[in-house]
């Protein structure tokens, strides 16, 4: 009894999850320093992997457990599930936008700093010439 019934969609989901986890690993290995970006990729990677593998496991009714949990929260099948997934996607987009915003602010800070240092260098040269 393998307890694992892998359909193509499970494999695709699992591979996508691994790709997201690899992306988070790359951030650490390249020292990119984006904490939120790391959490974004790692979080969604783990979630995708868990959902893909979890839904393929037949020995434990993980999906049934998830459905029970969702039902407790007020979700039922059909439109509510679509709403749930949509919210999840919106959350992803908000998170991703925030990461991009942080990166843009960092770049603006770099420009701000370099502009100030450039003016300082010019002042110093002018003083030296005088």
């Amino acid at each position: 009894m393998t307890g694992l019934a892998l359909a193509p969609i499970h494999v695709i989901g699992a591979l996508a999850g691994i790709a997201l986890l690899y992306q988070s690993y790359r951030l650490v290995s390249d020292r990119k320093e984006g904490v939120f970006e790391f959490l974004l990729w790692a979080g969604f990677g783990v979630a995708l992997l868990a959902i893909s593998i979890g839904s393929a496991i037949t020995t434990v009714d993980l999906l049934g457990g998830l459905e029970s949990g969702m039902a407790l929260l007020g979700f039922a099948r059909g439109p509510e599930s679509v709403l749930f997934v949509s919210n999840l996607l919106l959350l992803f987009l908000v998170f991703y936008s925030y990461v991009q915003l942080v990166e843009s602010r960092k770049q603006l800070s770099d420009l701000n700093q370099e502009l100030a240092l450039l003016r300082y260098d010019l002042d110093q040269r002018t003083d030296d010439d005088d």
Binding site: V35, F38, N112, Q113
Partner: protein
């Protein structure tokens, strides 16, 4: 390196040997300042006696801090947009490393730190081969003048840094510091907030020697920015900073 002002360290409580060693070091003082027009000139004037060059980092002040600083400082870096203390001090570090000084001393522009303590900061570098020296208000009684909230915050951050490293320091948030530029060149750019925690933790994890000296440090005269609101914002920022150091440094 430009030695524009002779250093007068005759009565600063350090030995003649130490004074000679300090005289061989090229020392830059950076003074991060935001709206400090009332104090900046005095701070710069007093600091010049102990270092080779003083550069004020004006963090986009809305008063005449930059103009007052230009009258007395050897250089002023005027940031077009306000960056916060972390960004301002990092700009100063870049000046120190690009101009190839041996040591950078960091001192606040509000007069909270006493420039007369600079020789003792430098003595730790020359005598004990320290890479970073922190002036601590918790090694004397001056910390008692701070509010309970602020003291609790400082103690908590210090405890966190000590717990995550092999340090045993008392005042991680102090902005009165001296560094070798070798250390500064190896440090990453800190966050604009919580720069001290991040910088100290990173330096410790990279194996640099960090020591403290006792420096009286009365609270800022114009009211502390460390109110309850700021205190509440600290936990998420602190978690982010800690994760950043643990993951990426």
């Amino acid at each position: 390196m430009s030695a524009q002002s002779p250093r007068t360290t005759d009565d600063d409580g350090v030995s003649a040997d130490t004074q000679r060693q300090q005289a061989e070091l090229s020392v830059l003082a950076i003074v991060p300042a935001y709206n400090e027009s009332g104090t900046i000139a005095d701070v710069v004037s007093e600091t010049r006696a102990y270092v080779d060059k003083v550069v004020v980092i004006d963090d986009a002040s809305t008063d005449d801090t930059a103009e007052r600083a230009r009258e007395v400082a050897d250089g002023v870096v005027s940031l077009p947009k306000n960056m916060g203390v972390g960004g301002a001090v990092h700009t100063g570090y870049l000046v120190g490393t690009r101009e190839r000084f041996d040591v950078v001393v960091q001192i606040d522009g509000d007069g909270q730190h006493d420039p007369a303590d600079i020789p003792r900061l430098l003595a730790k570098i020359t005598d004990e081969d320290a890479d970073m020296v922190i002036g601590s208000r918790f090694l004397n009684d001056s910390y008692k003048e701070y509010s309970v909230v602020r003291r609790a915050g400082i103690r908590f951050f210090t405890w966190e840094v000590n717990a995550l490293s092999d340090l045993d320091i008392t005042d991680v948030t102090s902005g009165f510091r001296a560094y070798t530029t070798e250390l500064l060149a190896d440090l990453s750019r800190p966050e604009n907030s919580h720069w001290a925690l991040e910088q100290t933790l990173e330096a410790s994890r990279k194996g640099y020697k960090i020591v403290e000296i006792s420096t009286p440090m009365p609270p800022e005269t114009d009211g502390s920015q460390f109110d309850l609101g700021t205190f509440l914002k600290y936990p998420p920022r602190m978690i982010k900073t800690t994760l950043k150091v643990l993951l990426f440094r």
